[in-house]
Symmetry: C2
Subunit: 165 residues, 2 copies
């Protein structure tokens, strides 16, 4: 099963596609859409949407997953982020993919096994699970891959439950 | 000049297109996209996006305008709204329209002449300015038309300033 993970951000939106049976994962692509702070929001959203659509077309994932947005200390930042998330969800829905949404805690639990893991631990585990060559420098691409791994693992576990019943 | 106004909402997104010289306004269309609370968010966003795209194709506005989202008393609602706003901005950007964003206060100032106007006053002024037949029942469609009127008025004023200089 191919899964697209997206790490939404106004300035940098990470994305990654993995091929996974729920236990072994293989990386197909990962990257970041960087948008200029000088561009108006609508232009940035269009840029992000077009790149996600391109990645979906090229790698044909069956599912797409994003993180939940919480109203953080900075409400303004959270609102901007939510706009990007809307566009990411739209790209997933437009392509007819299954859609998953996870809290940062769920992603960390799934990838590191510990909900309060540090960013660096997530990156370490993503590298350990996927063994990308060369290593992935972008934290945002790593986070996107972590979301994809989380979704793939969850889906496989759900299927095992269904089969067991 | 044709202007599309959008009033973003998770359950009901209002839209309206007017033809305007900045002083006289004529209504071309107005309506509401209603999405089911039972549908997942990504499906609702897709529905809203497709309808806005259809309206843009049919009426060919030169500009699109939306309201700003503020973090309201209910932060969760504001975040949902921001996702819809992201999709509305995307529809505007994808079609290459000029994009305007106004605070609710600016819209009320522009349409009613008073920033703290009641919703009912906005509706009354929208009807008085556009004389739609039959009257527009939906508050959301009315709000969208108010945003369109605000943008058309602002743009015309900006042009007059430029010409005067």
């Amino acid at each position: 099963m191919r899964v697209l993970g997206i790490d939404c951000g106004t300035e940098r939106t990470g994305y990654g596609v993995i091929e996974s049976d729920g236990q072994r994962h293989r990386i197909l692509t990962a990257g970041v859409v960087r948008t200029s702070a000088k561009s108006p929001m609508e232009a940035r959203l269009l840029e992000i949407f077009r790149k996600l659509r391109e990645v979906i077309r090229e790698y044909g994932p069956a599912a797409g997953a994003v993180e939940e947005v919480f109203s953080a200390a900075n409400a303004k930042t959270a609102l901007k982020l939510a706009q990007v998330r809307g566009v990411a969800l739209l790209a997933i829905a437009e392509a007819g993919l299954d859609c998953g949404a996870y809290s940062p805690l769920e992603v960390k639990m799934s990838v590191v096994g510990y909900g309060r893991a540090e960013k660096s631990q997530v990156q370490l585990m993503v590298h350990s699970l996927l063994r990308p060559e060369p290593a992935i420098r972008s934290e945002d691409a790593c986070d996107a891959l972590a979301v994809a791994i989380c979704h793939a693992t969850r889906m496989a576990a759900a299927r095992r439950w269904e089969n067991a019943e």
